[in-house]
């Protein structure tokens, strides 16, 4: 994961992320301000006094906080469109991820979110081998082709050409299996299936938040599991990472203990629990 572009380009501390957004907003604000001044000076002659006054009163750039709200609203809309197009969960996830990353490099003042939503979904489909030709995509979304294609390069560049996204969905499948091994005989399969489905939904919602920049995909998965069933998840993590499993009493326990003892884990249980608990709180 540390070699991935997701870790190298798109992982931040909360402070770094805020700094980045302030910088993007400041840059856009100053360029908007400058183009406004140019507009007024170039059109001095045929602009009435009150026009200039209303421009100065109303054409006020949005703040960084307002940007975050606007991007979140459109990310939700994007999720709705992608789900309406019946795209697979991972493609929806990648669309959301691309869209939110775009607005870490661009301000809504430069590119209104509604202009980039479909391009983001279109590129995500291509990138995830779920190719939809532009003709049928433009037909399904009732938007002209070139309005979708014209921003593709800019989107790709803003993504810093990093298209491979690791989502918390595959780790969910992995933990679904490993929980069965570590808690062998102690978990009801049907119940696990319900947990699995609920976690998938929680994870898709989590992709709309900043946890994707602060935590790794498996940590987000464990936070989603913690949200769905705190007792089960804590039990699993204790057995897996705390090494305080009971003495082997019956055969199944013996097997599961083998599973645990063989995996020479170097993860500190307390650090991990604190980390996924804070991730859970942020998702909530």
């Amino acid at each position: 994961f540390r070699h991935s572009s997701q870790y190298r380009f798109w992982s931040f501390t909360p402070e770094q992320l805020t700094q980045k957004r302030i910088q993007v907003n400041a840059q856009a604000t100053s360029s908007v301000g400058e183009s406004l001044r140019n507009f007024i000076s170039e059109n001095q002659a045929n602009l009435a006094e009150e026009d200039i006054k209303s421009i100065e009163e109303k054409a006020v750039p949005v703040t960084m906080e307002e940007e975050i709200k606007l991007v979140s609203i459109y990310a939700k809309k994007l999720q709705g469109i992608a789900q309406h197009l019946n795209l697979p969960t991972e493609v929806v996830g990648t669309s959301i991820t691309f869209f939110r990353r775009f607005y870490l490099e661009n301000s809504v003042l430069q590119m209104h979110p509604k202009l980039i939503v479909l391009t983001t979904i279109f590129l995500a489909c291509k990138s995830e081998n779920y190719f939809i030709g532009i003709d049928s995509f433009s037909q399904k979304t009732k938007r002209p082709k070139d309005s979708i294609l014209k921003y593709e390069f800019q989107l790709l560049e803003s993504l810093r050409f990093s298209l491979l996204v690791h989502h918390p969905f595959k780790p969910l499948h992995g933990f679904f299996l490993d929980i069965q091994a570590v808690l062998h005989g102690k978990v009801d399969l049907k119940y696990m299936g319900q947990i699995y489905d609920k976690c998938k939904k929680t994870i898709t919602e989590a992709l709309l938040t900043d946890v994707v920049y602060f935590y790794t995909p498996p940590q987000i998965t464990l936070a989603a599991l913690l949200l769905e069933d705190e007792a089960l998840t804590t039990r699993y993590l204790e057995l897996k990472f705390h090494g305080n499993f009971q003495a082997a009493s019956d055969s199944t326990n013996q097997e599961s203990n083998e599973v645990i003892s063989k995996s020479n884990l170097t993860i500190n249980f307390d650090v991990l629990m604190n980390l996924i608990t804070s991730c859970k709180q942020q998702i909530e």
Binding site: H3, S4, F122, N129, I134, L149, F153, L156, L163
Partner: protein, 298 residues
């Protein structure tokens, strides 16, 4: 920062130039993606190259030095690699030894193994996609057909891999194949390095089936469970697999371990075919001659 000094190639979706990275004087290759070539916007091959080369940093995989947009064209800056294995195989004036072949195989497998452990299928391994760096290192290149290992239910196209290097499951139209298809390609390349002529040169997709099974035997449900369930299986000519003796005669220079290694990679049943770890850990790489030091390969 980058110059484009000489045009060295042109494909359907890209033009390749030789150039220099100004700040370091390093020779580079610039792959300029034609933006107009693909009516659906950015070309899928370009997206794949960008997507996978961004994630892979390995001595035996071509390095993506940089990417930039210029006048509406996407430019991939790649490390400059002056030659490839196809040139070596074809140029009969170049003599090489079993130790050289072993070295090329080792480097190729390391590169392919690194892709597979990152769950990336290359899907177009062939001699001219195995480029050779000035220091002799082999570099796996051209990720225009690559993709991540699919989710279990996903359906994949079988129309991948250049015909002569295409695994039998692809010839049968398989939709749920695995990284085993890349290992088959490496096996055919190994055979070609030993023979110095193409090993399974089918003249068409149909002929490729014929050529493959005539050389290696037609698979049956016994050695490849459910192979007969492929729709294309019915009209097949039945050939018996070559005996060990026939293989020895075909690959005179090959040791017993080399033959085991070849047969491991060219195992018909993809479930049983060796994976890259089994290849790398095979006796072939442990026995003499040891692989030539890459920089010493003439």
């Amino acid at each position: 920062e980058y110059t484009k000094e000489k045009k060295v190639g042109e494909g359907t979706y890209a033009v390749v130039y030789l150039g220099t990275k100004q700040s370091t004087g390093r020779s580079i290759a610039v792959k300029e993606i034609k933006s107009s070539a693909f009516k659906d916007g950015l070309d899928m091959s370009a997206i794949r190259e960008v997507k996978y080369l961004q994630e892979i940093q390995h001595e035996n995989v071509i390095e993506l030095v940089d990417i930039f947009l210029a006048s509406e064209n996407l430019n991939l800056v790649l490390e400059f690699l002056p030659s490839d294995l196809e040139v070596i195989i074809k140029d009969k004036s170049i003599l090489f030894t079993p130790a050289d072949i072993k070295s090329w195989m080792l480097m190729t497998l390391r590169g392919v193994h690194h892709c597979h452990r990152n769950f990336i299928l290359h899907r177009d391994l062939k001699p001219n996609n195995l480029l050779i760096a000035p220091d002799g290192q082999i570099k796996v290149a051209d990720f225009g057909l690559a993709r991540t290992v699919p989710s279990p239910h996903e359906i994949l196209t079988s129309n991948v891999v250049t015909r002569w290097y295409r695994a039998p499951e692809l010839l049968f139209g398989a939709k749920h194949y695995t990284s085993a298809i890349d290992v088959w390609s490496v096996g055919v390349i190994f055979a070609e390095l030993m023979l110095r002529i193409p090993y399974l040169p089918g003249k068409s997709d149909i002929d490729q089936v014929e050529v493959t099974f005539r050389a290696l035997g037609t698979p049956t449900d016994r050695d490849w469970p459910d192979v007969s369930s492929f729709p294309a299986y019915n009209k097949l000519q039945m050939y018996t697999p070559p005996s060990r003796e026939e293989l020895r005669r075909r690959f005179i220079a090959a040791s017993e371990n080399a033959l085991d290694y070849l047969c491991g990679m060219l195992t018909m049943n993809p479930q049983k075919r060796w994976n890259t770890v089994q290849c790398l850990e095979s006796e072939y790489f442990k026995e003499a001659p040891s692989p030539t030091e890459p920089s010493k390969i003439k």
